[in-house]
Structure formats: structure tokens, C-alpha cells
Point group: C2
Chain length 337, copies 2
DNA sequence: AATAGATTTGACAACGTTGACAACGGAAGG
DNA sequence: CCTTCCGTTGTCAACGTTGTCAAATCTATT
């Protein structure tokens, strides 16, 4: 009735339980004869090594995924990426949503690491931008990998996965420029919102490198929501742009709607592009041209890095890595009339 | 440098490690004097009980959340509910996305239970509708709680959380009827899609109980997507309905768009309502009147049930529970002209 | 045939915790 | 003063696994 243990297998196979352990761990020094016999018995009893006991005896076999705004679709994509990696390597994932504004994120995490035998942590923005937090974790010798936006790793504290959304914003702007747009509005600038800053930078660079002016009146402040997108669009439309670059798909969806409300057809009168390739981007008509972020892969990569750091003692064997983003061309942007 | 153990605390406090264990587990028979001293030492050393060792010695302290279509927003809401409950009780959550079409879900799960000391499982549709799977898990004496839609628990195999979307669909239909609508189209009927069936049933019941006819031409087949919503709306509009009941918010968003494209203002010419209260419902204009499913609470409740079953030997102490759903009245439905 | 060396196996402790049970000390009852 | 009992504390085994090291067996070399 009870779950079979390594000793049950050993008794059945007529060997010591240590030998079974060796077979389970694929150690070399077991004769083929014994090995096959043990494997048979494992099969027969349907034996599963006890993860818990293993963890206790060996190094930690778990890592934590720490994220902030838990309702974003990208969280779940990342989570899936991490899980798939964990499964492959026999690791366990502990999920940890937090409120980044709270003061105790550090303490909370430290407690987790302390009590759960967690060996590694994957941090996403805005937690990953918190240098203090990172050093804090490092001091408690957790292995840390951060996912950040930016073209370069910001420091050498610990490996980083940097996602080049500046470059992507530039690509997108270039795309609009190549279509022939000259007056492009930028929606969603927000001083405290890290990613809006990067995207604006990419936007700027693209214009400037062609010697085009950046019209301040076409750079609109606002939040990353549908309603704010509508409001910003009313503002932007006063400047008569032929295209709108929205900081994310939600804003873009609001922009599409408001444009039409204001009598502009999309994409005939205004082209509109988004960012993120979220589900919203096909929830609108026309479907949005946007930028895709391969969240699953990014996260899987992060997981692989953390696991590697946990397994090899030498932390410096793991290097930071960059991801670039691709345009997803759909129907919301065309040549200007 | 190393993490302090119960023994380190004991040495510092000058008591046996068993006494510390007692303090940590809040057992009664410790004198106040000793208790405070031990607590001080725990504080001083920043001692954290080792979860792994605890699990090994005692009953399993983990439960699994098994779900299928992992990109839905409701998964993450539920996950958060479960986590919050787990944290409160010192339990650990293991996430398990699966492909319900694969044959080995059972095996996979059995392996998890076997190797990870998992004591309980929370199942969501369509996995939770799979009776065979449930008995399979029950036989391996896991505690199982299923989340299902329906007004009643379908059986007594194991406790169920049943979410009454039939009733909610009826409420919503009644709401439209009360506003004065007589011709209501139903979008998103799909024979193999369990929840569309329930929603249609609620819709029907509402009409029939007022002696109104159910017009077959206004019940439209289709999938739960924006594009399908547009297509279904083109079909439905031929019948000149004054209101549209969409099976979910994505369909409703498509319906809103297509209606306008076809020259009908929303909500002035057609009222449109959704279901699910997903992020999409405020991603459209006007914001959708819809049905809210308290996923966080449902999941937290499920977690509480599983944990209770794991802790008390008597499985039958835990009873199935029903949740009813509430309308979220926003701006997409008004009185007919 | 004897010895060294390599390969294979086993005995045992250890990981950090809890459960079972024994031991201690003091209070109450005779 | 001795017993009984209760509240408090301690000792030890156990959970299922892996690491260490020694024992046993086999192989190759002289």
C-alpha cells in the first residue's frame, strides 16, 4: 500500500540499497548484470525516488520565479518556459508573486531561500532593476538571474538576460519610416515606467539617424491602458500624424478605437502599431502590427542559466545573454495615403 | 556561513533541540520562560525551519495545480488564489500545465505524486471532467478537488467546486429581458465546448420561463475568438436582434466591432454582453457588461479544501461547494430603442 | 602462484526534522 | 514521608536518500 522505497527495491533485487542508489543515479561502477536486475525490480515495484529526501541530502533542487504584476499574460508565458526547463532537468519550481512596492520583498525572499532550500532565483522587472535586492540575495548565496530590458547588461553582479526593446522600437519606427510615414506620434511616455523610456529612445534614434525632427507635441504622456490610449490619441490627432507608435498593445487598441471615433479609418488614414504581441493584438480590427517578445524562450533560457549556476560551483561560467525582438507585421499599418 | 539548524538554536539557548522543535511547532508543553528564550535565539540566529526535512518526516506539504490551456488569464488568477492560501498554511505549490489531449496525463501526474510527496491535486476543466483520471488519482490516494461548471456536483467521488454558469447565463439573459429586449442572439454555441452548452442552457431557460420563443436562427455556432465573433455577428445581424449574448468576452469584442462595421451603433442599436470579465472586457468601447467569475476566491477555496483533506484523515469532512457568479454591469447594454 | 591494481559492492553515518517514550522535578494527597 | 500525578524536558529512532570509506571480488602482471 505504501510507496516503495529504495530499500524495498534492494530487498527484491537481493543487493544493498546503496547499489540501487547507484543505479538510480546512473553511476558508472555497477556491473551490467546487477544494473539490469535492479532496473527490472524498479520497474516491477514502480519505484519513484523520493524527491524530498534527495533534496535534503544533496544540493537544493528548486528555483524560484519572482514576478510583480501577476496579471500580465507575459508572466504565464515565462512561467511555462521555466517549467518546461525545470522538468527536463528534474528541478522544481516555486512561484513567488510579490508586490514590488512593499519594503519586505527582500526579507520575504530571504525567508523563502532559507526555509525552502531554494538555490536559485529568477527576477523580472521591476524587481530585477533593484540592485539592492540583487546584492542582498547574492549575499545569502542564492544564484540570481535577472531579466531586464536594454541592449546591454547593466553590471556584472550576476548574469542577466537583456531584452533589447530599444532596438525593437527602432526597428518598428524604421518600418513605419520605410512605409513612407513622416509624422509619427508616440503614445505612452511615462517617466517612471522603465520600458516606456527605452521604447522612446529607440523611436528617437530611428528618427534622428535619418535627420528627421522629433516633434515634442507628438510625444504623449500616459499610462499603459486602453482608456489612456484613447485619451492620448485624442491629443495626438491634433498634430495630424499619419502613424501612431503605441508603447504597448493595449494603448494601440485604444488608439485604434479612438481614431475611428474621431473619423479616421485605420489603417487607411492613420497607421497604428503596438508592442508586446499580447492577445489584445488580435482582439482588435485590423489585427495589430506589433513587436513580439519570445517570453517562453527567454524564461527557459533564464532557468537553464540558474540551474547551471546551481550545479557548477563556478558562477562565472554562466554568461549574460541578449535577446532581440522581431516585428510581427499584421494589418494595422500601411503606406500613408 | 551555513544556515543555522534547530541544533544551533538549541545550543545557543542551552536546551535540547527537541524543545526548540516544540517551540517552533507551537506545542503547548513549554514553559513561558524557556519559550521566550528560545524565540530570542531563533530571532538572533535568524533561524528558518527547513521545509524539506519537515516534509520528509511528516505528511506531504505540497499540492499540485493542474490545468490545461495555459494561456488563459483565468489560470493565473486561480494560481494566485491557490498560492495565497498555501502561503498562509505553510504549504508549497507545484504547478503542472498539461495537454489534456495527451494520453499520459494520468501517468505524468502519478509520477509527480509518487516522487514529489504531493498530497493533493486541484483539477480544472477539461481535466476535471475526466472521471477516469479522477478515480485513477484517488486510487493512488491523492486528495483531489475538482473545479467544474454546473449547478450541482456531478458525483460523490471527491469534493467538487461547482461554478454555476448556467445560473449566471440565466441572470444575464434576464437582465437583457428586463431592459426590454425581445430578440436576443446567442453567439458561440459549440457542441464540444462544455461551457458553451451550459451558457446556452441558461439562456434558453430564461427565455422559456417567460414564455418567449427561442429562435434557432439567432443561435450561432462558432469558436471563442474575436474573429469568430465577427463572423457570427454578421450571421446574427441578419435576424435583426436588439441584443447579443456572447459566450465570452472575446466573442463580444468581435461582435462590438462587427456591429459597428455593419452600421449598427453599440449600444444604441444593438446591446452586446460578454461573459468572463476578462481583461478584454475593458479593452473595447463601450466597456462590456459581462459576468464575473471570482477565480481567485474559487481557487483559494479549492486549496483550502485540499489542505484540509490532507490534514484530517477523514476525507468526508470536506464538502463540495458551489459558487454563483455576478453580473458586472458596464456600458455595452442599454434599453432597446 | 603471488601480488598489485582496478572494479564492484556494502556498512554506516549523515542531512534536519518529528514522534514515541522515558526521565525529571515539584505539587498534591494520603 | 512516601506515593501519585502532571507539566516539562530530554533521549533516541526514524524518514529515504547520498557520501565516505572499507571490504570483497575480479583482472592483469610478474
Amino acid at each position: 500500500m505504501k510507496k516503495p522505497t529504495i530499500k524495498d527495491v534492494a530487498k527484491l533485487a537481493g543487493v544493498s540499497f546503496k547499489t540501487v542508489s547507484r543505479v538510480v543515479n546512473k553511476e558508472a561502477s555497477v556491473s551490467d548484470e546487477v544494473r539490469t536486475k535492479v532496473l527490472e525490480c524498479i520497474e516491477k515495484l514502480n519505484y519513484q525516488p523520493n524527491h524530498t529526501a534527495r533534496v535534503m541530502r544533496k544540493a537544493p533542487f528548486s528555483l524560484a520565479f519572482v514576478y510583480d504584476n501577476p496579471n500580465s499574460h507575459y508572466v504565464i508565458e515565462m512561467q511555462n518556459g521555466i517549467i518546461s526547463e525545470c522538468r527536463e532537468r528534474g528541478f522544481e519550481l516555486v512561484i513567488h508573486p510579490t508586490d514590488s512596492r512593499s519594503e519586505d520583498v527582500g526579507k520575504e525572499l530571504a525567508a523563502m531561500i532559507g526555509s525552502n532550500q531554494i538555490g536559485g532565483v529568477i527576477l523580472t522587472p521591476p524587481l530585477s532593476e533593484n540592485r539592492e535586492l540583487v546584492t542582498f540575495l547574492l549575499n545569502r548565496d542564492a544564484k540570481v538571474v535577472r531579466i531586464l530590458s536594454g541592449a546591454e547588461a547593466p553590471d556584472t553582479l550576476a548574469p542577466v538576460i537583456h531584452v533589447d526593446d530599444v532596438g525593437a522600437a527602432r526597428k518598428m519606427t524604421d518600418y513605419l519610416l520605410d512605409l513612407g510615414h513622416k509624422k509619427i506620434a508616440f503614445l505612452g511616455y511615462h517617466a517612471s515606467h522603465e520600458s516606456s523610456l527605452g521604447r522612446l529612445e529607440g523611436f528617437r534614434t530611428a528618427l534622428e539617424s535619418r535627420g528627421l525632427p522629433v516633434d515634442k507635441n507628438l510625444i504623449i504622456d500616459g499610462e499603459f491602458t486602453f482608456d489612456s490610449g484613447m485619451a492620448m490619441t485624442r491629443e495626438a490627432l491634433k498634430g495630424k500624424p499619419t502613424a501612431i507608435f503605441a508603447c504597448n498593445d493595449e494603448i494601440a487598441a485604444g488608439a485604434v478605437f479612438q481614431s475611428r471615433l474621431s473619423g479616421f479609418n485605420v489603417p487607411e488614414d492613420v497607421s497604428i502599431v503596438g508592442f508586446e504581441n499580447s492577445p489584445f493584438s488580435v482582439q482588435t480590427w485590423p489585427h495589430l502590427t506589433t513587436v513580439n517578445q519570445p517570453n517562453f524562450d527567454i524564461a527557459a533560457c533564464a532557468a537553464a542559466m540558474v540551474i547551471k549556476m546551481m550545479q557548477e560551483k563556478d558562477v562565472h561560467s554562466v554568461e549574460s545573454k541578449g535577446f532581440s525582438l522581431n516585428l510581427v507585421v499584421r494589418d494595422s499599418a500601411i503606406k500613408p495615403a
